[in-house]
Amino acid sequence: MELPEIGDVTLLSLQVSLLATLLSLLVGLPTGTWLALSGFRGRSFFLGMINTGMALPPVVVGLAVAMLLWRSGPLGNLDLIYTPWAIVIAQTVIAAPVVTGLTAAALQQLNPRLRLQLLGLGASRLQMVLALWQEARLPLLAALMAGFGSVISEVGASMMVGGNIRGQTRVLTTAIVLETGKGEFNRAILLGVLLLTITFLINLALTWIQQQGARR
């Protein structure tokens, strides 16, 4: 693997995982908030399902998404299998329960009377939710970090729905698997260090934002 290719693979890894994290945030933040604030019958069961989803094996997600996107599958006509979009979908399925479960936990640990106080101050429902997110911003950022961490490091789903196609769907984790299989350990180690460095830098940035919030 040459340097330009390493650059392309790194860029694709970042694009796919950041987009999947963003999508999981769009799904997980409102869903987790709804689960934390509503008191419907069966909520504990639903939360249990979400918490189980946090431990979903990526290969199982890969299998499910592959069956959906397979040419003869229900969404086969979208022609997404073995494209970066297929990896985005699979990674979103992996990260969404993580973000949802940790969002619900973050909001549930706030004093429940805080909601009453916010409403008593004249907050609309939306203003109340935004204020609660602000109050829980530290654990919510941790949820974001956990969601990103779960997708940037996974390999099973990316391999199954992306196919590890050179120049198209090869990401850092699948490239590491490929290079290790070929016995090219130096390249695999280089890619591994690159993956760890990127993960570290992104988490460092998020941690910095989180700790700025903690000092306020």
Binding site: N111, G120, A123, E135, R216
Partner: protein
């Protein structure tokens, strides 16, 4: 004197069991009504109903001469102020805490600053404006909580045992300040407490709640002179 708030035939259920029954209760404009009773008597439940944070099973509630249903929850809540037992401050500066309700109402920022500074000064906490709420003492927190409610210029102020848990000198200083502000502003107030010494300082009327039922309502003097039954007499004398 006209009523700002009226409650008729109120029933609140929890898990199917009655927890609060009030046949009639009125809060006159500009008056301070103290609601007293032991723990578990239904005082906070009454406050939550008045704040429209708890739906009663039955009852007619009127605000400013209109049925409460004529106003949306949000429109009504933006005409009242609420101070709960715990200060429940946000993890922001004191200034931002006091400004929160005004910002929810989308008041222009120059007016927010002006009004917040007035109330920080009135409650003697101007020097704390930039301090994070998490670094305040209990008394300071409750001052911020009061400023946060008064800055909204509410028509009805609901106070739920705001001085519980404070040391005596702090509590007395806050009671003095609150009494002065209520006298000066004339804000109609419902003040919940289980401490009768707090009541006699500034309440015009006192309502006694025992075991989830409103027992008697009158001036502090009337209640002490002629309690309606033995239970009320025992409660009043225990606290006197």
């Amino acid at each position: 004197m006209s009523s700002l708030f009226e409650i008729h035939d109120l029933l609140v259920l929890r898990d199917g069991h009655p927890v609060l029954e009030v046949d009639l209760l009125e809060v006159s404009k500009g008056q301070v009504l103290a609601v007293v009773g032991p723990n578990g008597a239904g005082k906070s439940t009454l406050l939550l109903v008045l704040a429209r944070l708890l739906k009663p099973a039955r009852g007619q509630l009127r605000f400013a001469g209109l049925p409460l249903d004529a106003l949306s929850d949000l429109a009504y809540r933006r005409r009242i102020g609420l101070v709960l037992q715990e200060p429940l401050l946000f993890n922001r500066s004191v200034f931002d805490n006091v400004a929160a309700g005004l910002r929810f109402r989308r008041i222009p920022s120059d007016q927010v600053t002006k009004r917040v500074l007035v109330w920080l000064g009135r409650l003697g906490i101007t020097h704390l404006a930039k301090r994070p709420a998490s670094k305040l003492s209990g008394g300071e927190m409750q001052r911020v909580s009061l400023a946060r409610a008064f800055v909204l210029q509410p028509e009805l102020l609901l106070l739920d045992e705001p001085f519980t848990g404070l040391d005596n000198p702090t509590r007395l200083a806050l009671l003095d300040d609150l009494g002065g502000i209520l006298q000066e502003t004339g804000i109609t107030t419902l003040f919940i407490t289980h401490d009768l010494s707090e009541v006699t300082r500034f309440a015009h009327q006192v309502a006694v709640l025992l075991d989830g039922r409103l027992q008697q309502c009158g001036t502090p003097g009337e209640l002490l002179a002629s309690p309606c039954n033995e239970a009320v007499a025992a409660f009043l004398h225990a606290g006197a």
